[in-house]
Amino acid sequence: MSTTIPAAPPSAPTRTRPQRRRAPVTDRARKERNLGWLLAGPAFIAMVAVTGYPILNAIWLSLFDYRLTDPAGRDFVGLGNYATILTDGLFWKQFGVTSLITVVTVSAELVLGFALAMVMHRALYLRTALRTAILVPYGIITVVSAYAWAYGFSNTYGFVNGLFGLGDYDWFGGTWSALFTVCVAEIWKTTPFMSLLLLAGLAQIPDDYLEAAKVDGATAWQRVKRVILPNMKAAIMVALLFRTLDAFRIFDSIFIMTAGAQGTETLSFLAYRQTISRVMVGLGSAVSVILAILVVLIAVMFVRVFRTDLSQQRGDRK
């Protein structure tokens, strides 16, 4: 489920009701507490039961040399699997491929998404048609999008070569061209999501700001750079964060379009191949854990930058 929706954590309401201040555990407060867990409990259990155990299990298994077809040969190797992976050139190559895809797609999506958002923000006509149209790539199954692009670029079935006069050029024959097609498919599918988030940020900028800038003689470019962008920093950061995390976990498009051939394998694909295809459960679990750690690191990095950014902004204004 790669199309996870970002929604900032609904900040736990800090409303304090007058009656709760009086005594810490009134009858009413206790009832509220019980109801709270009664309502949130089932969802909490459903989330933890299915993800908590597998995560811990993966960490545990990653410490073993364990092949599913040879359970007797299971051997505790401590951090051996991690050492194997981190000293393997293949891992670093795939880390590079994954990072490259992430950086290329997310930056292209940001630029393209911003352009889409500007047009949608300004368009007086076709507004409904526009929103409906861009929701199609958002909602479409990633596998379907991957097939559409794989067949489009194919030199047996595709129209792309004909369109650009490329003859029989084989896009999937080389690393760079294959990665290019994967990036195109990813960008097509996820830019709409980015642009909707940016559009929401754009809609929150008061028109007066832009009017004032215009009156003061700011050019269109200056208005974008000095008024629009600084005022939608929060929206940009949220969109970047969620898209980066998603892009780093890219799996579906790779599986369908290249199946990891021509050096296009990504980290998610490596984890899948080790565990499912090669049944090297220990090694595969270690790859999964490393992937999870990397994703968490990216998230932490973003939140750090985001925080300092916001506090700086606040400082500037004073």
């Binding site: 954590p9 509220e32 507490r33 790539p137 199954i141 067949y151 097509w188 988030l197 984890a271």
Partner: protein
């Protein structure tokens, strides 16, 4: 004028790849390799092929059944949880939110592989339940966040008024809040359905046969199964079939979907 051109370009951007796969699905014979955007003869041949294939029809049944069940349960649980989170004070609220956030951050593939081992041990491998459960836990954070964002917009004074009039917390929830929250719940249901319908990772890791394999996973196996001499155009047809529900939902509810996607993301 400039904006109109931009708008038309965007619409073209969004639908040309879709039109391409539709067009490919109507090609037959030599047309499939004619490398042009449109077929010379429009044919239903590929649709007849996929609907005559058990591989596709069972996968379609699996996808529809599992998506609807998972979406329904997920949205019911999420509604209750989001209400508690946005309205009630109870210890551990942050824990629930933290777990939800951790799940959205954790890579699906990292969950899928241990689940693969676990499911094989306890016999849930290759069953509907074996897929519905992970769908549930992976779609819950999304529904909880979307719904909590919606619940913040609801005029809560009405609930308090009901409570002043003697309603219990539960009555206030059921009689006053549920009708107000219904649009949000509906939006969460659409977004959850999209997410579950889109699943590929669980579909390929946790199934081994037609018993529970959903369409996206089945599409990937069309090639290996060699059921078709030439699987390209039938895959295109199958891809178009599973895209129809998405397009219908988008056409009917675009306003709600946009609101659901952006609500809370920016304000938070």
């Amino acid at each position: 004028m400039f904006w109109i051109v931009g708008a038309i370009l965007i619409i073209a951007y969004a639908i040309i790849p879709v039109l391409w796969i539709v067009s490919l699905s109507f090609k037959e014979g030599d047309d499939i390799t004619n490398k042009s955007f449109l077929p010379t003869v429009w044919s239903w041949e590929n649709y007849r092929t996929v609907f005559a294939s058990d591989l596709f029809t069972t996968a379609l049944r699996n996808s529809i059944g599992m998506s609807l069940i998972a979406t329904t349960i997920s949205v019911v649980l999420a509604t209750l949880a989001a209400y508690a989170i946005s309205r009630l004070n109870f210890p551990g609220k942050r824990l629930v939110l933290g777990v939800a956030l951790a799940i959205t951050v954790f890579p699906v593939i990292a969950i899928a592989t241990p689940l693969f081992n676990l499911w094989r041990t306890i016999g849930l491998y290759d069953t509907w339940l074996g897929l519905i459960i992970p769908y549930l836990s992976y779609s819950l954070p999304l529904s909880v966040y979307v719904l909590a964002a919606f619940f913040r917009e609801i005029p809560w004074e009405m609930e308090q008024a009901a409570q002043v009039d003697g309603a219990t917390a539960w009555q206030a929830f059921r009689r006053v809040i549920v009708p107000l929250a219904a649009p949000g719940v509906f939006t969460a249901a659409i977004l959850t359905f999209f997410a579950v319908w889109n699943d590929f990772v669980f579909g390929i890791t946790l199934t081994s046969s037609e018993a529970a394999r959903p369409v996206p996973a089945a599409l990937a196996f069309f090639q290996g199964a060699s059921q078709f001499s030439q699987p390209t155009a039938p895959i295109a047809a199958a891809a178009v079939v599973v895209t129809i529900p998405v397009v219908v939902l988008v056409l009917l509810f675009q306003r709600k979907i946009v609101a659901g996607l952006t609500n809370g993301a920016v304000k938070g």
